[in-house]
Amino acid sequence: MECINAKFVSQKISKIRWRPVSSSTLQQPDIFATGSWDNEDNKVSLWSVGEHGFSKMDDDFEGDPQLLCEYQHNGDVLGLQTLSVAQHWDRAHHYPCDSAPCTGVVCNSPEIVTVGEDGRVILFRVDHKGILRTIDNADSSTIHAVTFLRTTEVLTVNSFGQLKLWDFRQQGNEPAQILSLSGDRVPLHCVDRHPNQQHIVATGGQDGMLCIWDVRQDSMPFSLMKAHSAEMWEVHFHPSNPDHLFTCSEDGSLLHWENSTNSDTPSFLQGGRNTSIMSRSTVVPVGGNQSLTSSWLGGDSSKVHLEATHMLPTQTLPVNSLDVLGQCLVCGTDGEAIYVNKRVPV
């Protein structure tokens, strides 16, 4: 806890993202962008958390984010992603008589996909001025978040508790697949894909439940965990250490989930066949070239061990957004504070 720095920034933070560093350098990320919301003038700001050589244990003033630059933004910032080129597409999301909020954006250079409260999925290209493709009426309820599964496939979650898979290679406005929880139709607010295994997806919903899905299977989620007592706003797999998952929520907490399997053999030797039976059973150590099953899908609860730790000192106002890169975690809250932790145990 000692290594977490808070800075009050006079704007409620709705989205926060690290600027990506190339994985070849062992550098820690030091620049992040924030978007504000609920202000009369909202801003997208760039901040730097500079490194001054060694980081000393008790030095609190190092790592205080410094503002680099700001840019005015119309309306609340609801989606943020780093790109190298900026463009402006006006009124891409709209209702018949009004503009509709765009709720999520994701990019896989050079393509950008956005989703909004009008239920549209729109595809842009960085160098293209106009809209590349729109899937009108993709959803009759609000789409809250979107993520890339493969280069041509995206996954969206909506306020009716459904995950929809869209394939851009197909024409037409129908999703390729729909997955949902049976029972209550609880809105899902966030979705993230496992960095190495494209079929594993984590979602968080209005009731604070964390669900892990296997997109190849049919509609049921693989596991459900009660994570928070209020809406979960963001879920992120750690990009280089996917056994770690981070979630943040309206109840003011940020949880760090660590998946450690209690078995003797190291995880890279644990394998299993890529069939539906094996992925639900215990992970059996098999040598040779088997495809690796993720520890997230291990079925036997005695072998899979999930630990959650609180990352923030106390819970007060909702945490809206978080981002993690390397050992650095940054999050923004409705208390107009940014928390930076440069020593996350991953």
Binding site: D76, T103, E117, G119, S141, T142, R185, E250
Partner: protein
Amino acid sequence: MGEVDVDPIITLIPGIDSGQRHLGFAWGPGDLLTYETQYKSQGAGSVGQACPFVHVVRKDEDIYSPILRKLFNESHYIFVGLQRIKEEVPSKNKKPQFISISKNYRSVIRACMEELQQAAVSTHDTTLATQYGNQVSILLAVELIWNLCEVLFIEAAPAGALLRHLLDWVRLHKADVDEKAQEVLQSESPVQHQAYWDVVVCYVLQGRMEEAAQMLMKQASQQPAARAAYKLMDTLLTKMPVYSPGGTQTQTEFDVRWRQWHQECNRCLEDGSFASYSQLELICRILVGDEDTLLAQRERLSTWYHFLVTRLLYCHPIVKPTELHYYAQASMDMFLDARSGPEPLDSILLAAFEFDIHQVIKDCSIALNNWWFVAHLTDLLDHCKLLQSHNLHFGSNLREFLLLEYASGLFTHHSLWQLAVDYFDHCPEFGRVYLELQIERVPLDTEHKAVKVLRICEQRQMAEQVRSICKIMAKKALRNSRLGSALSWSIRAKDAAFATLISERFLQEYCSHGTFSDLDLIDNLGSAMLLSDRLTFLGKYREFHKLYGEKRFAEGARLLLSLMTAKIAPRNFWMTLLTDALPLLEQKQVIFSAEQTYELMRCLEELTADKAAQDADRPLQEDDIEATKVELLRLALARNLALAIVKEGTIEV
């Protein structure tokens, strides 16, 4: 103590000439709406065109200042932490905690002040710079008052220790002597520096004996002839007894020693040991506590409360808290110019020295334009159990009244309303009511914000507000033809009536377009179907279509019939259902059994009987289509019945 007189400030509204027409106004929660009325002022000549604008006048600009916003957020954090301190530990043991919380508040104020100071220096805009400068001086005063309240009320040190704290208080707020000292020390010849004696005397006035002695040593080394005098002064300075609470000496012992020292200083003066060195003599007179000398140092003291503390230091070091106000009043009278009355700040400080907490709070409320300071200070003092609870006519007690006022002011801000929620939570009597009224008026532009507001209401079991907010969002969604969104809002509010409305819309669309829109929604209703009858019907009807599409005619037929007989389907839809039954009746194989056909016929009869009763006056043309439909149905039903009876009557051999 009378009320502090402050003249009302006149604000000119641009575009409105108050000399020409009367001004109309309406109060809002934190601001004022003004507009130009039709009524001419008396004696006005030709009146020009009326101003078409409505102006919003805000009294409190501070909440819109980006730097001060940090003050509100950080103090909110401290406030919530304070409320969570457990009640079981008795107040006495919590004193160090309260003191540290008070220090936290003050450090937040100081941080804000520094930032404002930097901004004032670096900005090019002169109005902005003056504004920042004003805010800095207000924050300075606020911190001064808070610090004094912390010393007198929360720390509540007894005689002896009290003076130490007061000295610290003064030193903290007169930091310019350190700057000057730096300047002097860094100059080539400190002794020759023009501010040298300034620094030394200021150190003595603040009771910083060691530093004064060190400075004097520089002078001593320069003037070997005066060595004796400087040595004597050094002794006097360093030998001054200092009371340490919790030390081995009692107050009486200290008193005795202090009197001895005081007599020693007096002797030095009378002996004339410093006769040839005017500055040293001055210092000695200060040590003796000579009033006239102290008054003569008006410039260096700069404030009456500095004068007070210095006087106490050199005349009455073991001043009791109860005696404080005599000295305070006397000091103020002596120091201040008799002609100009006391400033608001002076009256507040005097009230503090008199231990009149209520007067302090009252005066601060009037003098400041924002409830932040009084609300937080009163809350802290209340936790220290220092406020007598007397019930006010509004807001139950003083603490709650101030917190409610502060939080209501916050609610008018487009962004800080979220902080106000926590303040209302900690007002036991009226907090909930205020929150219920205010939370409904937060503008909801995006679903994201609506979800947050809803979560706040749900956590506090404000069912009515939840319903009303969900209804607003659902209506908005309906207006934009987002039926799925509207439905998910009704599900959240468990609003059966609205769900029925939405289902009607779906059914209407089906009737007009012939197909369902938003199949993904209807197909996956799940348990939400049970929210309203109409919704259940919609789900089941869609199921029928699916069964038909999969050619599972028998099941489809059963479902269709049950929809009518179980009265799930609304009456006006029966015709459509029966028309849907037509293709099933026309099939080669018999799908409806005889029983079922009888049922269908009965439904048809019910329907036509109703119709006949209702449309007695209707012209005949409209009935043509209806009549044809009914005839077709009757024919189909009859044929089906015949086939069914035959089929059921046949025995397989």
